[in-house]
Symmetry: C2
């Protein structure tokens, strides 16, 4: 039962703004009246006021974030901890603040458009199966490249993976008790590496990752429509 | 040399509006002040005023399109021809109007945001290599599903395929002289099936395919910013 568990969200925001071509890291850019990252934290807070939010930021941005929160009178309760060089290290940092016997959703800070339904789906599936990962269908044709040549790939057997990825804390803590490997592209691959099974749940095409300048325009328009 | 060739664009707009949950087929929905499909045709016309545009529509929509063009005083020169049950049949219809010794770009009508640079890239590559297909990197993790289980897939060797896909007319006409097979998901797979090599060129993340209601909001915002 979902209600028996203490719940956490580890929100990873390691961006330094390089792909965004802006002075500000993308997680602090204003969309729909407030910094992107605030939308993300508010979504989790709306889902469950008692959920513990752990925000992982680059060490050099923690002070800046504090000032931004003050400026916006941002009152969503959360802890902040410094991350590391790769996303893997940042999640590992966040896990230090997690108590056992809980459920932990790990989420990309730059996905501000996640819905309450999506958060609910991943927590419920994690309570039942241990490890729940949202995914969506691929809507375009795909090819596999090999040097200068390429071959078509059947998109119907593939899924695009999103976050939040949600896990029983024992599973997640145990899986992250390892050194970084380049094959760890998300939390699912880390947990899987420790021998656990991943349960896929339905993601949401609206739950976009804001990484390119065009994504800011998109996120802004979707937030104002939502 | 690109300038030696007569140039065509076959624009395929077969949508019946089912996924869009609207009364109107998606290609006729108004974005940024005019029907989506007009943006698409205008992009090709801006690239080269002498380019021949062949618009393939479902038989039942041709009259409607004519009325819409009149209403909007739409003056981009183009021919209209009726399509068939699958995209394959619609392209095959359009090809009937193509002269040999030319270059033919085949494009999804519901990608209204294609840039002049992208059109130029595919025509130039087709003049040089015979068959040019735009692609972009996959920005999210991928998994391959197999019943209830799934395994991670390396996204770095995969590319999302877009249109316009551009071909020397002899290659395209020859390749489409065949019956429909379900593996024909785009023009590249048809041309490849006839033994030709596909040259990949750089696509554009902005060149989105408008298929879901959220895509209309996105396209509208990108067009107004553009």
């Amino acid at each position: 039962m979902l209600s028996e568990y203490k719940k956490y969200a580890i929100i990873v925001a390691g961006g330094k703004g390089e792909r965004m071509q802006t002075a500000q890291p993308k997680q602090f850019i204003n969309i729909g009246g407030k910094p992107l990252l605030m939308h993300t934290l508010m979504a989790f807070s709306r889902f469950d006021i008692n959920l513990e939010i752990i925000l992982v930021l680059p060490d050099g941005q923690i002070k800046n974030w504090g000032q931004i929160c003050k400026k916006y009178h941002f009152n969503v309760r959360h802890q902040v901890i410094a991350g590391g060089p790769e996303r893997f290290h940042s999640v590992k940092s966040g896990i230090k603040l997690v108590e056992t016997e809980s459920l932990v959703a790990v989420h990309d800070g730059v996905r501000p458009l996640l819905s309450l339904d999506l958060i609910k789906r991943v927590f419920e599936a994690a309570a039942k199966y241990g490890a729940a990962v949202p995914c969506i269908e691929v809507r375009e044709s795909l090819r596999e490249i090999n040097g200068v040549s390429s071959i078509p790939v059947d998109r119907h057997v593939l899924r695009l993976i999103q976050t939040p990825q949600c896990f029983r804390s024992d599973m997640l803590i145990d899986a992250y008790n390892i050194s970084y490997q380049p094959k760890f592209t998300d939390d699912a691959t880390v947990v899987e590496n420790a021998g656990h099974k991943i349960h896929l749940v339905e993601g949401d095409p609206l739950n976009i990752k804001v990484t390119l300048p065009m994504d800011l325009v998109i996120a802004e328009s979707l937030i104002s429509k939502g």
